[in-house]
Amino acid sequence: MPTWSEIQPFIPIGLALGGVYALSGVGTVVLYRATGVLNLASGAVGAMGAYLAWALINEAHLPSGVAYAFCVLFGTVVTLAYGLIFGPVLAARDALVKAVATLGLALVLLGLMAWIFTDQAYSLPLPTDGAGFTVGQANIDWTQVIALALGIAVTISTTIFLRVTKVGTAMRALANDREITATLGVPVRRVEAVAWAASGLLSGVCGLLLADLVALDATTLTWLVISTVAAALIARLRSIPGTFAAAMVIGLVQSCITPVQSLTQYEDMTPFVLAVLALLLVSRTRVQGLAGGGGV
């Protein structure tokens, strides 16, 4: 077993990953609550945005800031466009159908990335990589700090947004009962559009951060959505703080088991294992609750 000093360097790595999973997870939960769509394309959208940012910097020689902004814009517009086009068409369909439809978008983007950018290695370092500080045995760079800080900031601001703003209240109402909410005069389409746009914006930001923290690789970034979805599932696709907590646990566990020789091969399984454990725990609690309450 590794010692505490050996584990320390993996903590900031895990916290940074957890922060990005939280960012994406919050977007997933907000979108699901507002539209009923579990978006499986957020990783691919972010990856495509990051590749385009790479192209704008390295091929078109635009300033990095413009390219980063374009990545976020790409995520926002593509996700919003998908929501505006396919949202109404699929509104009445089963949640599974809606989720699989987003998988279609992910596969189209994945194919496009493979076609345009081939399998050569690309990298999109952020200017915050070069500098940092040391805590104990851990080297921490500013990109990791930003990833964690953004995760916390978005979690807090989204929680407040859902509680105090009209659009946030409308989103919560939509999550409870779409029919009644629509009957009450809430502009459902507009609220949904805000959710799609916000989710897309977060996809773009996550794409930039993950391209730096993990790798600018189409397959890797597209399927990192699994960790995001796992965090959202652990929070039962409802709780924003719960999604944040789950994302942090996934990121930390995934990173901190790396130095454990016997477990390191299984680190990719972390999101699945934690999601399954959480779902089993939730269902067990529910069954016990029903039994305690006199249910059959």
Binding site: A60, A215, P259
Partner: protein, 437 residues
């Protein structure tokens, strides 16, 4: 009264901005030649007969099986072989016969790979197999190739590529290249421990086997790691490697270029490049990888180069660079060890084919391959041979070590024998002596 900026107003602005950006990207990609675009005939490279005439006779079909899966792609090898064959076809072909190159991609599925070999030989009627580079093909199909009388000129990965009379490789493969990388760290950098990290694909035990023997002979401990690819957390991988190596230790990476780059860039972000000595097996000897690393890795990374520097001088290297530039648009990694392998395999095959008198059949083509001896190229340290009636082949057993220098590879150590401590290397040197190869 303040007017609210609604979705209908904002969306078109976003779409227009997106369209401008995408147009810019499309324009850039549309106007940027990767390696290709055929240039004027005067500047065209001379391959094969070099007469500038397009071959129009009956095609000679050669085949190959290549791994292409997430995290492990060797298509640069077959794509480069294809580039050379196209150049040969534009220069008179094989005495007027163009080469038709039939490449099948596989994803490490034994059933699929077995079927692929049967398709090449029984259905597509290839006359020879050149440029094969597959994780499991040798393990699955070598008995079939032997039964069918095929002598492969290939890039070896699995142990069976190096233990059969029917396969001769231009590379030394992950095991012997890792031997070279580990030897450099132990003998030149005097590391106290070696951490060997590689992709979690079939053959990991074989790959690390030579490193274990070499380190043991020098009383240096070895720790063996494997990573699932594509690597999803380069930071953790790099941190774990450095931690395991400890102070005065070294890390040997055995990955394809994109995966190695993920680890090395993560190490750089975490400031780990100077904490230990780093080494790579041959795939890191690739231009885009070293360009992606930059000056931070000067004298911190040492790559066992099975072939020469990608930008080396010399007539064969110059031809390789020229063919890549004009015919290699599909070679995504550009100049590097993989494309060097494809080029050299194709060059050897073409020279053998040009020497055939009479009909081109499976027998005549494979006999010509088996008879190759003393093939000189500046891409290899020693002349290459196939070797008739020998139990196995390892013609490339002497190579260089290269290191990054401000974004390009330079030589750190000249041609050096791979250690005889690995018994197969010692064995092949005896064969070379006995057979005068």
């Amino acid at each position: 009264m303040r007017k609210r900026l609604g979705l209908r107003a904002v969306l078109p602005v976003g779409v227009v901005a997106l369209a401008v950006g995408l147009t810019l990207v499309a324009n850039v990609f549309g106007n940027t030649p990767k390696h290709s675009t055929r240039v004027s005939a005067a500047a065209a490279p001379k391959c094969g007969l070099g007469n500038g005439k397009t071959a129009s006779g009956t095609p000679i079909t050669l085949g190959a099986i290549v791994t292409n899966q997430p995290g492990t792609s060797f298509t640069d090898i077959t794509n480069m072989a294809q580039a050379y064959f196209t150049c040969v076809n534009d220069n008179g072909g094989i005495n007027g016969h163009p080469i038709n190159y039939d490449v099948i991609q596989e994803q490490s599925n034994p059933t699929q790979v077995a079927a692929d070999a049967k398709q090449l030989i029984a259905s597509d009627h290839v006359l020879g197999i050149v440029g094969n580079t597959s994780i499991i093909d040798c393990a699955v199909n070598m008995p079939y190739y032997k039964q069918q009388g095929f002598f492969l000129i290939d890039s070896g990965i699995a142990e069976q590529c190096y233990s059969s009379p029917n396969s001769a490789t231009v590379n030394m493969g992950p095991r012997y290249s890792s031997d070279g990388a580990a030897s450099y760290l132990i003998n030149v950098k005097h590391v106290k421990k070696v951490v060997f990290d590689q992709s979690n694909v079939p053959g990991t035990g074989y790959n690390v086997g030579g490193v274990n023997l070499i380190a043991k002979a020098s009383h240096v401990p070895v720790q063996d790691l494997t990573e699932n690819v594509p690597i999803a957390n380069g930071d953790s991988v790099a941190e774990a490697e450095v931690q395991d190596a400890g102070v005065g230790g070294g890390v040997v990476l055995n990955f394809t270029p994109p995966e190695a780059l993920i680890i090395l860039q993560a190490a750089q972000q975490l400031g780990l490049e100077s904490k230990v000595q780093w080494a790579c097996s041959t795939p890191c000897n690739t231009n885009f990888l070293v360009a992606g690393l930059g000056s931070a890795w000067n004298n911190h990374l040492f790559v066992n180069a099975e072939l020469n520097l990608p930008t080396a001088p010399g007539p064969d290297s110059a031809l390789y660079q020229s063919v890549l530039k004009q015919y290699g648009s599909a070679v995504s990694g550009g100049l590097g060890s993989f494309s060097q392998m494809g080029f050299t395999e194709a060059q050897i095959a073409v020279k053998a084919l040009l020497g055939i008198k009479g009909a081109y059949t499976v027998q005549s083509v494979n006999s010509a391959f088996e008879n190759v001896k003393g093939f000189k190229t500046d891409l290899l340290c020693k002349p290459w041979y196939y070797g008739k009636h020998v139990p196995y082949h390892l013609p490339n057993n002497t190579d260089r070590t290269v290191t990054p220098d401000n974004g390009v590879m330079v030589q750190a150590q000249g041609c050096t024998n791979i250690s005889n401590v690995d018994p197969e290397v010692a064995g092949v040197r005896k064969i070379e002596k006995k057979e005068h190869l």
